[in-house]
């Protein structure tokens, strides 16, 4: 089953490779991974979309928690959450197609963010189904380029961390 895992990490050199290395080294799936700074510049937020049975997801969460640079891990599937993905799609548009493209953009509440005589560049965000749907409709017009951000997600209620790791002050 697909899980979205939200991981708060130290904003330090090498952290991404530790997380990526954990997934590749242990044979866990990564469907998508996004990283960006948080309000607190010392931390970054990763959203990882992965899949596996219950035992594997439990291991993924535990193994992530075990990484010293990981501060907090939340399996969003355990709560209600909202998630979004953005895609930027460049389509070929000949005369009549231009109007068709705009109609599709309209239906999906997407935006045209750039235009040349022969192309439109469209930005769309939503859940993955919506993105798949617009891609399907635009395909006949001729997609020249497609980039997707991968999903980002946030819990609706303040989420219960799967295993909280609190700040630690140890004496010698």
């Amino acid at each position: 089953m697909e899980h979205i895992i939200s991981v708060t990490v130290e904003n330090k050199f090498g952290v991404l490779s530790r997380v990526a290395g954990l997934f590749s080294g242990r044979g866990f799936n990564i469907e998508s991974l996004s990283v960006a700074p948080t309000l607190d510049p010392s931390m970054s937020q990763m959203t990882i979309v992965t899949s596996g049975d219950e035992r594997i997801i439990e291991q993924i969460v535990k193994q992530l928690n075990k990484l010293i640079d990981v501060i907090k891990v939340v399996d969003l599937n355990e709560t209600e959450f909202v998630s979004r993905e953005t895609a930027i799609i460049k389509v070929h548009t000949k005369d009549a197609d231009r109007a068709e493209a705009l109609r599709i953009v309209d239906i999906f509440r997407a935006n045209v963010i750039d235009s040349t005589p022969s192309t439109y560049t469209i930005e769309v965000s939503g859940d993955p189904k919506k993105i798949e749907a617009i891609i399907n409709l635009l395909q006949p017009l001729g997609i020249k380029d497609l980039v997707r951000t991968g999903r980002v997600a946030v819990a609706r209620e303040p989420a219960r961390p799967v295993a909280v790791q609190t700040k630690k002050v140890a004496r010698d």
Binding site: V9, E10, F13, G14, S17, R18, G21, G25, R55, E58, Q59, K62, Q63, N65, K66, L67, I68, D69, V70, I71, A163, Q165, T166, K167, K168, V169, A170, R171, D172
Partner: protein
């Protein structure tokens, strides 16, 4: 006053109580070696290979319970120590490895002897640091020791570029560490511990399955109390040997692939498995789907990832063995009474039956070839009074050592379990000897394995580490040959070692003492002579080449389905078309 990075390094090690450093120099660490050369607090043991330095640090750590420390140069120094780091990572050995790095300005330029030390070591260390600024050096070293020795112990690498060791900074050593993402759990959940106590009270066929974690935690006393109070039999993993006295009536010895019959049968038929500091390795579980089919499982482990990694657990307790066992014992002390003994009488009757049915056996003929088991058994009996530390290499000899050398106390058993690193034994023994100059340190080695770190004999001589090596010389990669016997129809592909050096002469060439046991009748005398020598010794014992190690659960097999001796078709094979033991013997001694 400002100190150089090299001076800060030494001050930090002193603050951490480091007395011994296993090291081999190179260009980028020369400043550190030069500074080490001008002080007396830390002894530098110059090894002949960085892998040796790494295993020595491991041996030191396993014997003392403190972090072992080694220092290597960039590039090839680093790549050479990787095996030891991977070994320490698999076996949770606390160790801090310092590596030199090219100057910060050259990192990433394919500079001379540059390697991506952080990238190379990431998957085989608990954590690693690249120190880019001399002002961070002291705090980094403090964190490195803290991470290596707390929680589930493990190796930590600190990569120090050349310019950082030369630059100067004000030295202050922090007295506390604060890492927000690292907070090991020591206290077990009280409710879970209560559940465990209740399950223990009710169980009719309980078994304790204890591992390396008990040793790391220093919980042997608590374990002994638990077992004696509840009269529960104790199975030990390979890494757990010594955490419970091997000769204790409650001890079942080792379990798993080459464990005793009773240890494996008791595990398979038990109704409650109490796992303490053990990680359900596949050499122990065998076929996971048929592992302990009738049992509830209690699992105490400081690392949450160990729990439910391989098998389902009914009562998980994340915490330190010692802390959890103290709490558990306290509850049990108030509740245990005579009833459990009656309740478990049939279980003990059954166990005694198993013990009598298939004890560990081998057959030593009076004037036949020397059996490897006999060597380990006599070595044990002749040295037990001296409370020796025992290291092993990897292979059949390791398993026989595990079966026949019954250790009474923890921190005396140095073996490579998780990675199974041939060549581990000798340097590990030297590391322990460096920590305890006056103790007897033995290394039970294979003729294949010993050749993987033989060069360290020079270190043993120069640094006066009088380790006693006993080579069970079967002329084979015996463990490989055994699998070929059993699963590849006796085709010995690359397991026959062919010519082996004359280990007696080899020892002498290094300035050590070499002895050979020519017949079984000489065994005791030669072993005694070796033990009475104050130099490093190699005792070469040509053993019966075709001896196989039993019991054995074939990989992926089920725990109650053990092979107890060579299958009949195999017995016929041996000695016919193959080299006879006598031929082998002449090859060896020629």
């Amino acid at each position: 006053m400002k100190l150089t990075g090299a001076e800060i390094f030494i001050e930090c090690l002193k603050r951490e109580g480091v007395k011994t450093l296993f090291a081999l120099p190179g260009g980028v660490v020369l400043k550190i070696f030069d500074t080490l050369h001008q002080q007396k607090d830390i002894e530098v043991i110059l090894t002949r290979h960085e892998q040796g330095a790494g295993h020595m640090a491991e041996g030191y750590a396993k014997a003392t319970g403190k972090a072992g420390v080694c220092l290597v140069t960039s590039g090839p120094g680093m790549t050479n120590v990787i095996t030891a780091l991977a070994d320490a990572y698999m076996d949770s050995v606390p160790m801090v490895c310092f590596s030199g790095q090219v100057p910060t300005s050259l990192i990433g330029n394919d500079a001379f002897q540059e390697a991506d030390n952080i990238g190379l070591s990431r998957p085989c260390t608990k954590y690693n640091f690249l120190v880019k600024d001399v002002n961070d050096l002291a705090a980094t070293i403090k964190e490195a020791f803290y991470i290596a020795t707390t929680g589930r112990p493990g190796p930590v690498l600190v990569d120090i570029p050349k310019d950082v060791s030369m630059a100067k900074a004000e030295f202050t050593y922090p007295n506390s560490v604060s890492i927000r993402g690292y907070n090991p759990t020591y206290e077990g959940n009280k409710w879970q511990i209560k559940q465990a106590a209740e399950a223990i009270m009710k169980a009719k066929k309980p078994i304790l399955y204890v591992g390396g974690g008990v040793g790391f935690s220093g919980a042997s006393q608590e374990l002994l109390e638990l077992a004696e109070m509840t009269q529960i039999p104790v199975d030990m993993t390979l890494m757990g040997l010594g955490v419970f006295p091997g000769e204790h009536p409650l001890s079942m010895g080792m379990l798993g692939m080459h464990g005793t019959y009773e240890a494996n049968m008791a595990m398979h038929y038990s109704d409650l498995v109490i796992a303490i500091g053990a990680r359900f390795d596949d050499r122990v579980t065998g076929k996971v789907s048929e592992f302990c089919p009738h049992a509830k499982v209690i699992h105490v482990d400081i690392d949450p990832t160990s729990i439910r990694k391989n098998i389902n657990v009914d009562i998980p307790i994340v915490g330190d063995c010692k802390t959890v066992l103290r709490e558990l014992n306290q509850i049990l002390r108030a509740t245990v009474n005579g009833e459990q003994k009656d309740l478990r009488k049939p279980w003990w009757d059954q166990i005694h039956e198993w013990q009598q049915a298939h004890p560990l056996t081998y057959h030593q003929e009076q004037d036949g070839p020397i059996k490897p088991q006999q060597v380990v058994k006599r070595l044990y009996e002749l040295t037990r009074d001296r409370d020796p530390i025992v290291a092993t290499d990897v292979g059949q000899h390791q398993m026989w050592a595990a079966q026949y050398f019954k250790l009474a106390k923890p921190n005396r058993w140095l073996t490579s379990g998780g990675l199974g690193t041939m060549g581990f034994g000798f340097p590990a023994a030297m590391g322990a000897q460096a920590a305890f100059r006056n103790r007897l340190v033995l290394c039970i080695a294979g003729d294949g394995s010993i050749q993987m770190n033989m060069q360290e004999m020079a270190t043993a001589i120069i640094s006066k580490l009088p380790v006693k090596i006993i080579i069970l010389n079967n002329g084979f990669h015996g463990m490989v040959r055994q699998w070929q016997d059993l699963f590849y129809e006796g085709r010995y592909a690359s397991s026959d070692l062919g010519t082996t050096p004359d280990f007696v002469k080899l020892a002498e060439a290094y300035g050590a003492v070499g002895l050979r046991v020519k017949k079984v009748g000489d065994l005791d005398a030669v072993l005694k002579e070796a033990m009475a020598t104050d130099k490093p010794v190699i005792v070469d014992v040509p053993t019966y080449p075709y001896e196989n190690c039993y019991p054995m659960i074939p990989a992926g097999g089920c725990n109650h389905e053990m092979l107890l001796e060579d299958p009949p078709e195999l017995k016929k094979q041996v000695g016919s078309e193959k080299v006879t033991p006598e031929d082998k013997d002449t090859v060896l001694t020629a």
